[in-house]
């Protein structure tokens, strides 16, 4: 403001000095507007970027702060290590740092990461190839957020948790010594193989010696019971009615044939089903699940695993969502009226 006013006066001064003639009306002419009028849009440049200069600046600030701390403690600023900093903070703040942003985040894990990186640098310096043993990713998982909170006895935010997991994964990719391995194993858990959970029933044989297998399936409110016979011609009977009459829609018949087509057994089995409840699509889905479960007895373990991965053996948990008070439906709100 003052600069602008000064500039205006200077202008006025220059103008009156330059004017040879008589008194003229002094017009104020601003050269350019002040920064107060030109507001900078801080949000437009996006989130803060971690450039080289930013990192260097942060390192300088940290070193400066370290020297100040050393001075405060009466120690030598040149030889002030991380342990000395920790001891100084413990001395100055005996009850601990209360402000969340003042506390160091995931200090142990970061230290382990730095150690692992130093170890890798050592290896490359000695010209040894970076050994990375293949850890079996399939059998283990990281702790969930709730389990981690229980372990640390401290509340975590989703953001913190995701950052921690990312750090652990980065640590996994680097070759590190035993201490780091044990540290990582503290945060991982075993996962059992999925397909071993369900028990496959053995085949039964009826009077003619034909093998058959029974099972049940559900979808929404439909319940279906299915008997799949071997040595068949592909005939399907639902509630005593032929499938073409019971399911006039092509999509439902496609769903019934899906497990058979997937296993290449389209004309080889007969099926007798009873189904109740639900609508046409959910009845078809229930029969599909039941027939897939029944076919497990006829088929090898590997093929059941393929069926599971194709989504044929999972019960579909989706049901009609409840209507809520204050809304017209489950999600639809009443028409918004301004007044």
């Amino acid at each position: 403001m003052a600069a602008a006013v000064g500039r205006v006066l200077r202008l006025g001064g220059r103008w009156s000095a330059a004017a040879p003639g008589g008194p003229r009306a002094q017009t104020l002419r601003l050269i350019y507007t002040t920064t107060a009028v030109q507001r900078k849009n801080v949000g437009a440049s996006g989130p803060e970027k971690y450039t080289e200069e930013f990192i260097k600046k942060q390192i300088e600030e940290f070193n400066l702060g370290k020297r100040h701390l050393a001075n405060m403690m009466g120690e030598d600023p040149e030889t002030f290590t991380q342990e000395d900093i920790d001891r100084a903070i413990a001395y100055l703040f005996p009850s601990g740092l209360f402000d969340r942003q003042a506390r160091p985040m995931m200090k142990e894990t970061y230290e382990k990461l730095l150690n692992a990186q130093k170890y890798q640098d050592q290896l490359t310096a000695q010209d040894l190839p970076p050994q990375k043993e293949e850890r079996n990713l399939a059998g283990s998982r990281w702790l969930t957020k709730i389990e981690l909170e229980e372990m640390l006895l401290e509340k975590l935010s989703d953001d913190d948790y995701s950052r921690f997991i990312r750090l652990l994964e980065k640590l996994m990719t680097l070759p590190c010594g035993d201490i780091e391995e044990k540290y990582i194993q503290k945060f991982s858990k075993e996962v059992p193989v999925q397909s071993e959970k369900a028990v496959i029933e053995p085949l039964k044989y009826d009077e003619q010696g034909v093998a058959f297998s029974t099972s049940e399936g559900t979808r929404k409110t439909s319940r279906a019971t299915v008997v799949v016979y071997d040595n068949g011609t592909g005939k399907i009977t639902v509630n005593g009615i032929d499938v073409l009459h019971y399911f006039p829609v092509l999509q439902d018949r496609e769903q019934l044939l899906f497990p058979f087509q997937f296993l290449d057994r389209v004309g080889k089995h007969d099926m007798v089903c009873t189904v109740s409840g639900g609508g046409r699509s959910s009845q078809a889905g229930a029969i599909r699940l039941a027939s897939a479960k029944a076919l497990r007895s006829f088929v090898t373990e590997k093929e059941t695993e393929f069926m599971r991965q194709a989504g044929l053996l999972t019960v579909d948990p989706r049901v009609k969502e409840r209507k809520k008070p204050g809304q017209e439906g489950a999600r639809r709100k009443f028409t918004w009226k301004k007044r």
């Binding site: 399939a138 989703d158 997937f262 999972t314 049901v319």
Partner: protein, 241 residues
């Protein structure tokens, strides 16, 4: 025009209290949740992936397979099947054409469209001289896919407000968005610009054949969008993602 910037990823499922809270404060709590646990993985229905013998799989595929053995899998949706006749693009298009949940009608319209395309192409095929017969494509699925591919825009526009003014900024589109726009334009075009008497399958087959030959109103719409994006090139640096 595109909606604004990409939103934050959805949070995990909430408790009953959260759901009750959500009924009273619909704007303040997250709505997107699913009946499945977040650890469930999408099912893979394509049979060819499962028919490859174990030795022929590459290292990556073997690892993926081992990983999948421990992951629970969602149930396959009722519109999907492993037969050769189920096409994900065609199913998506049928769903977009569907009105009021009437899948039966939408599916019959779709099959009538494909039939109409086949008939028209066969007519052309039989009338054409011998040397041109090779160039005429009779498979309606090939025509459908190629027509949709031709309709997909490469670049889109997004409204960005900067300094009080709203600018149309050219922005690269994701594949899913391109496919969606192509299908949406096709359906809107067929619903709005047709004769009262003309039925949907007829009009759709006409539009698809025109799009297959890179002509017609939808291709024109795509070109106008590209031209507008080219005209607004100066604002391209407003994009921050």
């Amino acid at each position: 025009m595109l909606p604004a910037r990409p939103k934050a990823p959805p949070r995990p499922r909430e408790s009953r209290a959260g759901r009750r809270l959500r009924a009273w404060l619909p704007r303040l709590t997250q709505v997107r949740w699913s009946r499945y646990n977040p650890s469930f993985v999408e099912p893979e229905v394509n049979r060819e992936l499962y028919q490859k013998p174990w030795e022929e799989l590459s290292e990556e595929e073997k690892k993926k397979f081992e990983l999948k053995a421990v992951q629970p899998v969602k149930a396959a949706p009722p519109s999907v099947s492993s037969s050769v006749f189920s096409d994900p693009m065609v199913s998506k298009f049928t769903n977009m054409m569907m009105k009021g949940g009437n899948k039966v009608l939408a599916r019959s319209l779709m099959s009538q469209t494909l039939e109409a395309i086949k008939r028209k192409q066969l007519e052309k095929y039989h009338k054409a001289p011998e040397d041109e017969k090779d160039t005429i494509e009779c498979n309606p699925y090939v025509i459908f896919h190629q027509a949709l591919k031709n309709c997909q825009p490469i670049i889109g526009l997004s409204s960005i407000t900067k300094g009080g003014k709203t600018y149309q900024v050219p922005v690269p589109l994701k594949d899913s968005r391109k496919r969606f726009l192509a299908m949406k334009w096709l359906i809107t075009e067929c619903r709005e610009n047709k004769n009262r008497r003309m039925l949907m399958p007829e009009k759709l087959s006409l539009e698809l054949l025109q799009a297959f030959n890179n002509e017609g109103p939808i291709i024109k719409k795509k070109h106008t969008l590209h031209k507008m994006a080219e005209a607004n090139r100066a604002y391209a640096h407003f994009r921050w993602w």
